[in-house]
């Protein structure tokens, strides 16, 4: 039971509760449940058709491969940048902190355009020289990884920075003064205290990475069986009147993303004493 005094329930309480439930039901719950229903309209047929289509299977594998790489890159980068931003003073810290959020506000299409202007094989800034060196970026898995890493870049940092601020440095300093090295301090003191924020950030990044569409559409070239990811395959199959396959692929993508969120929200200890 919450320790704080509960306000008496009035008619307004029920009106507000009803409004919120209706709004969320009409906007999210009902439409999502319909996609699940459509997926299983003919039993497991849609899923079987989708999973026996080599292009869909390839797209799913490519998506997982790209997402894992993007998440690994963003986790390493995110932990490093969060520690730098919170624990160190350096000129330009405020600017870096502001710029880090930029990818969240940039349209995926603009992300695609920006990366194409930089890494495009024929007239990009760095693309041609990279190609001469044997590294194909645009219209190849590497380009898809870059696009995915771009759009999900700030998610780990946004979760870590507030928690790092909150825990302060007392324990870290104690560990240091007792003779722990920087790596040992990080692994034994810092990491355990930010564990849940990190897990949450990683899960958000994974969900975002699996679902990226616009930026990947431009950077990948969208060739089925070669550079087509799962979200691109959903678009093509839907417009190709293979709606069952589109629903099934969507269902699989949504399943991973929502399942990850649910698992984390169940596992994560509530910060507020006034939990449910």
């Amino acid at each position: 039971m919450p320790s704080r005094i509960r306000q008496p329930k009035t008619a307004g309480t029920y009106v507000r509760r009803g409004l919120v439930i209706t709004y969320l039901f009409l906007l999210v719950a009902w439409p999502v449940s319909l996609v699940v229903k459509h997926t299983f309209d003919g039993g497991l047929d849609n899923l079987q058709t989708a999973l026996s289509d080599p292009d869909v299977v390839f797209a799913l594998q490519l998506t997982v491969y790209v997402a894992v790489w993007a998440v690994v890159i963003n986790t390493v980068f995110g932990v490093g940048v969060s520690l730098l931003l919170v624990r160190y003073n350096f000129p330009g810290r405020g600017i870096l902190s502001a710029l880090i959020d930029l990818p969240l506000s940039v349209s995926p299409i603009v992300v695609g355009l920006a990366l194409l202007l930089t890494y495009g094989s024929t007239n990009g800034l760095l693309g041609p020289s990279l190609k001469d060196a044997g590294i194909q970026v645009a219209f190849a898995p590497l380009g898809i990884i870059l696009a995915t890493a771009f759009v999900s870049l700030p998610l780990v940092i946004r979760e870590l920075v507030p928690v790092l601020h909150e825990i302060g440095t007392d324990q870290e300093q104690a560990a240091r003064s007792l003779g722990a090295g920087p790596w040992q301090t990080f692994r034994r003191i810092t990491l355990p205290s930010v564990k849940w924020a990190l897990v949450y950030g990683v899960v958000l990044s994974l969900a975002r990475s699996l679902g990226e569409f616009g930026a990947v559409k431009i950077m990948s070239g969208n060739i089925a069986g070669q550079t087509q990811t799962a979200t691109l395959s959903v678009e093509e199959k839907y417009q190709d009147f293979q709606q069952g396959t589109a629903y099934a692929t969507s269902f699989l993508l949504a399943l991973i993303a929502v399942a990850a969120l649910v698992v984390v929200s169940v596992l994560r200890p509530k910060e507020s004493p006034d939990g449910d």
Binding site: I21, L34, N89, L96, A98, L99, A149, Y247, V258
Partner: protein, 281 residues
């Protein structure tokens, strides 16, 4: 480096001096690596978009933005994003209020539902909305290929922003202050106006800025839903994509720079508001 730390009065200043240190050698290398990667991935590409838009000169920029189809797309995008943001301000605050102050069975489920638009791939979001509000709608509402489909898609993908920024602030707010106001004779409306709104306003504005920035840049959820009809349901992102596909990168960059500018303004607004909030706390 230490010259930055002026001995200033105030406890917050003191704490910052204690917890943040100057760069050591290894953290300096780390910073260098991080900034290099960030530049290669984000800063250089975005700078190239700006350069590309200036490349064709002012003429290209103006021609692109005064092109009637592009102008219509920009108008539609900004209008719908604004309307959606207004709806989010009202409903987002209401949802946050109910999640924090109300207690009922199934509240945890609502918490997960709020996050679904974040987690769902945007193309799937379009498919999801199409199943209830498309041609095969079980309730007979078909918004596909109309302006309302743009509104609906933006409303779906921006749902969590205001809720998730207002919720933590509301959690910190002590209901006893409101009770005190009420016991001193303030009406419910006065309490709302004098106690609640001033406390929540920065969070609501921050959420609104995020929601607007996301709204003007949306693409994926509109692909299947809006039909991308020129002058009718075509948004700015789709215009940019068309320009890219036609090989007109200068025009694509011009529209992109306009979108980037609006997004940047939203971010700056956010930073200012956040600093206002932290100064108050």
């Amino acid at each position: 480096m230490t010259t930055e730390i002026q001995p200033a009065p105030g406890a917050t200043r003191k704490r910052r001096v204690r917890s943040a240190t100057s760069l050591t050698r290894s953290s300096g290398i780390g910073l260098g690596l991080a900034v290099t990667w960030f530049s290669l991935l984000v800063l250089i590409p975005l700078a190239l978009v700006v350069i590309q838009s200036a490349d064709g000169g002012w003429q290209t920029f103006r021609d692109t933005l005064t092109n009637s189809q592009t102008a219509a797309a920009l108008r539609l995008t900004v209008t719908q994003a604004l309307i959606v943001t207004l709806v989010n301000v009202v409903f987002g605050t209401l949802i946050a209020w109910v999640l924090v102050r109300d207690h009922f069975w199934g509240k945890r489920i609502l918490e997960v539902i709020i996050d679904i638009p974040f987690a769902l791939p945007t193309i799937v979001a379009g498919l999801v909305l199409l199943s209830l509000y498309g041609p095969d709608s079980p309730i007979g509402i078909n918004v596909a290929n109309t302006e309302r489909s743009v509104f609906l898609a933006l409303l779906f993908v921006t749902l969590p922003f205001v809720v998730r920024t207002v919720e933590p602030v509301l959690l910190e707010l002590d209901p006893e202050v409101e009770e005190a106001a009420a016991s001193l004779g303030a009406s419910r409306f006065t309490t709302l106006r004098r106690i609640l709104l001033p406390a929540l306003a920065p969070a609501i504005t921050a959420g609104a800025a995020l929601s607007f920035a996301r709204g003007i840049s949306e693409y994926g959820s509109l692909v299947l839903l809006s039909g991308n009809l020129p002058n009718k349901t075509e948004v700015a992102s789709v215009r940019i994509l068309t320009y890219i596909e036609n090989g007109n990168e200068a025009a694509a960059a011009s529209v992109a720079v306009l979108l980037l500018g609006v997004a940047l303004i939203a971010i700056i607004l956010l930073q200012v508001l956040t600093s206002v909030v932290s100064k108050r706390a």
